[in-house]
Symmetry: C2
Subunit: 256 residues, 2 copies
């Protein structure tokens, strides 16, 4: 039975996609069967692991709006143990189309339930919004990773996201946990970075991952060749950070 | 009569807010009457120029959904010649509330029309989405600045945004122009950065600003003290880049 982990933060550019791709790839390298779900119409997770959007005919959109089965849409990536449920720009329209569904917050859960037994982990990459698709991801998820860039605006948005998680827990998914807050793009030479890390630790110490992801150009280069960092440059600081994160999550859930 | 400039890109974290705040502040320093409109429920432009969200009672939400007059909601900032039309988290709900408005794409235009004569420039900071509020901004705008981070994913999203601009031009606002594509967070030492800049120049050379905004920690520190970079550290590379951008826009529009 898969553990479903959402990666969410309405603040843009904080490293949601980079985290989703690389933690999923790290689970796959450790031989856990993993599915990466791209729930962002930008489809960055889909292209970041090497798929060409022109070749994508069916996507998460079809599962959520046209009743397509997830297993008929899922693609095998270049990596063993890593499958992808791709996104498509049509997903932008799904929110409006689903507004009047009777069970509009539970659509993603219904899409993923039939395939939950085939995987150890399902990782969902969310768009920079707290709209209906992100809420669907939080309802389907067992837990959520919150990437937080070591920047002022990212710190500001953290409270709003944790509020949303509380609302989802109280009304839609009481079992939703916080897998952890992940500090991203950390650069130890910058005063602001260190201030933000200590501020987040001060308020949320018990849920901040000990793994910190450093700013590392290999992480931003890797998607341009359609590979997770661990395939692009396994020795890089970024790849090592994400492998450590995967191990920390396994330990925390007594799965090692 | 104000020139209304939207700052938009559905890719998150590319520097929309940083650009909106600092180009608006640069126009104000050059003594052009400027209004900064925060059209993002995250309200980063509002806090980035020093306002405390707890003190914001009326916002753009009230103008768009509750028929409040812009002039009753606008706040004076610490800088002469710079006013702000603040945002609020309620704006998240505005998209759903406006879905059934007869003229749902023209609401922002109707909000700004009555005050257009009081300003030389109105700069609109958009959220990382192509939803109804962003479309409203593009309909109200005379032109749009597209910030593009020197990264792979930002390059990928550019085509989608330019497509959306074309759709808005053909159906809703035929006068909408592209003010320019602005390369942001440029670091000349990184190969990927240089590749992205030359790729954007290759495809869109005629609309790329010659001003490039460099990665500069002063730009990310300034919002934590609620000031535009030009007030926080006028000598900094970031502040100088944005002043040059303002001058480039003035020259382009024969306003110097
Ligand atoms: N640790 C890191 N070091 C260097 N670059 C990084 C790092 N993490 C992410 N990046 C780069 O920063 C940019 C933003 O990251 P990413 O796209 O993963 O964020 P996101 O939260 O998914 O954005 P969006 O809100 O648009 O979905 C990308 O270009 C990515 O390659
Ligand atoms: N040129 C720059 N140099 C250094 N840091 C920058 C620069 N431009 C922006 N930043 C920082 O990068 C982060 C992202 O920028 P910003 O918030 O302006 O992007 P955005 O596109 O408005 O994000 P969102 O999609 O969430 O609205 C912020 O923390 C900001 O302070
Ligand atoms: Mg993303
Ligand atoms: Mg912003």
């Amino acid at each position: 039975m898969a553990r479903i982990i959402g990666v969410a933060n309405q603040k843009g550019g904080v490293g949601k996609t980079t985290t989703a791709i690389n933690v999923a790839a790290s689970f796959a390298v450790l031989e856990y069967n993993t599915l990466l779900v791209d729930a962002d119409p930008q489809a960055n997770s889909t292209t970041g692991v090497g798929f060409d959007l022109h070749n994508i005919t069916n996507s998460l959109y079809d599962c959520m709006v046209n009743n397509a089965k997830a297993e008929d849409v899922i693609l095998k990536s270049d990596m063993p143990h890593l499958d992808v449920l791709p996104s498509h720009i049509d997903l932008v329209g799904a929110e409006i189309e689903m507004i009047n569904y009777p069970n509009r917050e539970n659509v993603m859960k219904a899409v993923l339930d039939p395939i939950k037994d085939k995987y150890d982990f399902i990782v969902i990459d969310c768009s920079p919004s707290l709209g209906l698709i992100t809420v669907n991801s939080l309802v389907a998820a067992d837990s959520v990773i919150v990437p937080v860039q070591c920047e002022f605006f990212a710190l500001e948005g953290l409270g709003k996201l944790l509020n949303t998680v509380k609302i989802v827990q109280s009304r839609l998914n009481p079992d939703l946990q916080i897998e952890g807050i992940l500090m991203t793009m950390y650069d130890g030479r910058l005063r602001l970075c260190n201030q933000v890390v200590s501020e987040v630790r001060r308020h949320f110490d018990d849920i901040v991952f000990s793994t910190i992801v450093h700013r590392n150009t290999r992480l931003s280069e890797a998607p341009s060749v359609g590979k997770p960092a661990i395939l692009y440059d396994a020795e890089s600081k970024g790849a090592v950070n994400y492998l450590n994160l995967a191990k920390e999550i396994l330990q925390k859930n007594d799965m090692t």
